[in-house]
Amino acid sequence: MTGLALFNLFILVFMVVAAVISLRVKDLLTASVVFGIYSFLMCLLWAEMGAVDVAFTEAAVGAGVSAVFLVATVFNVKRMSSD
């Protein structure tokens, strides 16, 4: 296995882990932050595939601003998920 394939595998595995955590965790603040991590891993994947413009947008919008929006919303609702 080449280095690039290992890198891809590493990111994809962590993305699945981040996705499962952000769905399963009770604390919504944790879920928002882990969702930001998911977006950042996605951004790394775009950059690695050569789609730098998309990676840039993902980093600014996905990992940056939308994570802030989610955290701002969590502060205004009940912090613990009920299910």
Binding site: V52, D53, F56, T57, V61, V65, V68, F75
Partner: protein, 252 residues
């Protein structure tokens, strides 16, 4: 119910994984997207037609300018919708503030505020760079606008919302969002008045002292500036309304 939901999710996942086998391999020259004559045209002629080195920007702002214009309108409408749902005025605003479950310290933190003080100029300068350099390197109006909006959000996070609203009030942000779309549509309309079609930037060479190719180059910067106006304003307006339940007062 949860078991049924799990079964449906797993089944859909298996179906998607099965369908993913039919996708062309990454970088496949025979895939429909690569084999299409349109792709060949963009790759071969973008530099000749528009003098823009970054093909992605040229496709987004010029060849598919109509698409990008209405994408900007979508962002504008999303911002208006969020403000319309959350904003409290009149009798609603007089209601006592709802107690938050996890209230944080009211006093702004010294370390945080001073770090933000140092960071914000750098962030805003970088936003201008991303916007102005979008033709040559990755970037453009959307990314530059989001980074610019994030700098105002950072001020609101470190101090409180009124401090950020001194610099950009939400009312003015809504106005700026409209101005951004007007800039974009105005450039399109102007090229129409000069004898071309809507968003046919090459016609701007009649009024600019440049060639038809360079007119497209410069008009792309113009429409990107319009996009950046809208995105900056909408990002800040969304944050302001989300973080304070539409009351526009106090911190997060």
């Amino acid at each position: 119910m949860k078991k049924i939901a799990l079964a449906v999710t797993v089944l859909t996942g298996i179906l998607l994984l099965y369908a993913a086998q039919d996708f062309p391999a990454w970088g496949d020259l025979q895939s429909p997207a690569s084999a299409s004559p349109v792709s060949k045209h963009f790759i071969a002629d973008t530099g000749v037609d528009t003098e823009v080195p970054n093909m992605v920007t040229a496709v987004l702002a010029d060849y598919r300018g109509f698409d990008t214009m209405f994408e900007t309108v979508v962002i504008f409408i999303a911002g208006i919708a969020i403000i319309g749902i959350l904003r409290r005025t009149g009798a609603d605003a007089d209601a006592p503030a709802l107690k938050r479950e996890n209230e944080i310290a009211a006093e702004p933190d010294l370390i945080v505020t001073n770090t933000v003080r140092l960071l914000v100029p750098v962030i805003q300068l970088f936003a201008f760079y991303v916007l102005a350099h979008g033709h040559v390197s990755p970037g453009g109006g959307f990314q530059g606008g989001v980074i610019m909006g994030a700098s105002f959000i950072l001020v609101a996070l470190a101090w409180d919302l009124p401090k950020a609203m001194d610099r950009l009030s939400v009312d003015r942000a809504v106005m700026l969002a409209g101005v951004g779309i007007l800039i974009y549509a105005g450039i399109g309309l102007f090229s129409m008045l000069l004898g071309g079609e809507f968003l046919d930037y090459a016609e701007l060479s009649h009024v600019l002292p440049v060639s038809r190719e360079m007119a497209r180059y410069h008009a792309m910067l113009g429409v990107e500036i319009g996009v950046a106006f809208t995105v900056t304003a909408v990002m800040f307006a969304i944050y302001a309304n989300l973080s304070t339940r539409g009351r526009l007062e106090g911190g997060l």
